[in-house]
Symmetry: C2
Subunit: 169 residues, 2 copies
C-alpha cells in the first residue's frame, strides 16, 4: 500500500475514534499501520510478533483494537473454513469482494462480480429484507493443475499453504 493511502486510512481511523469520544493512542496507530500496510488476512495472534519492540502492544490491546476496527467497518472478520477466525483489511479498497479458495493449494483469490451484488439485492428483497452485508466463499479445484499437472500457485505452495497470498481479479 502506498504511503498516501495509508495516511488516508490513519485519518479515517482517527476520525472514527474521535467520533466515539475515544483516543487515538500510539498503540492504536501502530496497529492500524501494521494491519493496513499490506493486504494480508491475519489472525490477532499474528500481529504481536510483527510489532517491533519499539511499538510493542499488549495482547489485550490487540484484541480490543481489532474489535473497534471491526465496529468502524474498516476491518471485517471472515471465515475460510476450519473454524479459523481471520480478519480481512481489504474491504476498504474492494467493499464488495468475495473469496475463492483453491482446494489444491489453499491459495485465496479475491474477486468482485457486479452480478452477484444485483442478485443479492433481488434475493434479499424477495425475502422481505434490505441488504446490509454478504459473505460469499467459493471453493474450487485448479483446472490448470488437473490439465497440465502443474500450477504456478501450487509450485510456490511447495512450502505448505501460504495464507495471505492473493491475486486481485
Amino acid at each position: 500500500m502506498d504511503p498516501q493511502s495509508l495516511q488516508a486510512i490513519l485519518g479515517q481511523a482517527q476520525a472514527f475514534f474521535a467520533s466515539k469520544g475515544l483516543r487515538f493512542t500510539k498503540q492504536r496507530e501502530a496497529l492500524v499501520t501494521l494491519i493496513f500496510r499490506n493486504d494480508e488476512h491475519f489472525k490477532p495472534e499474528d500481529l504481536l510478533p510483527k510489532l517491533g519492540k519499539s511499538h510493542a502492544v499488549s495482547r489485550a490491546t490487540v484484541y480490543r483494537t481489532i474489535a473497534l476496527l471491526v465496529e468502524s467497518g474498516m476491518l471485517r472478520e471472515i471465515s475460510l473454513g476450519g473454524g479459523e477466525r481471520l480478519y480481512d483489511p481489504n474491504f476498504l479498497q474492494s467493499p464488495h469482494h468475495n473469496h475463492l479458495i483453491c482446494v489444491d493449494c489453499r491459495k485465496i483469490i479475491e474477486f468482485e462480480d457486479p452480478n452477484i451484488d444485483v442478485m443479492q439485492n433481488c434475493i434479499t428483497r424477495r425475502l422481505g429484507f434490505s441488504p446490509t452485508q454478504k459473505a460469499l466463499r467459493i471453493e474450487g479445484s485448479c483446472d490448470r493443475l488437473r490439465l497440465l499437472g502443474t500450477c504456478p500457485n501450487f509450485k510456490e505452495g511447495k512450502k505448505k499453504s501460504i495464507p495471505g497470498t492473493k491475486r486481485r481479479v
Copy 2:
C-alpha cells in the same frame, strides 16, 4: 423429520462408516439420531446435555464423530459470524441452500436460488477453477419491522435470539 427419513439417514451413515472400515457404535448411532432428528444448527457443546443419560456420550467422542460426519458430507460446518463454529445438518435435504440472517432479531432463514448456482459456476470457471462448494451468507434488516414497527419473528424473539429457528423458502 419423519422416522422414515431418519432411518434412511442412519443407513447412509452406517454405509459411510463401513466403507471406511469403521464401526457404527451405539454412541455414533445416538449422535446421528440426535443431530438429524430435527433441522437445527448446533454447536458440539450443545449436544452433550441433549443426550439422555441412557445414551450418554463423552465430549471427545462427540467431537470425533462430528469430524467424521463432516468428512462424509452429511454434515457441514457453517459460520454465521462472531467466530461461532456451527454445524448444519440440512445439506442432505437442501444441498445448495444459503443463509440469510436478520440483523434485527438474528433469525436465520435458509433459502435456495438456482441463479446463484449458475453464477457460481460461471465465476469459478472464469477464474480457472472447477466448483466444489460454496457458502453464501447474507445479512439484512427486516422490512416489516421497519415499516410496521413489528415482525412475527421479532415478537417470538422477545426471549433473546433464537438460534435454529428457521423458515424454508
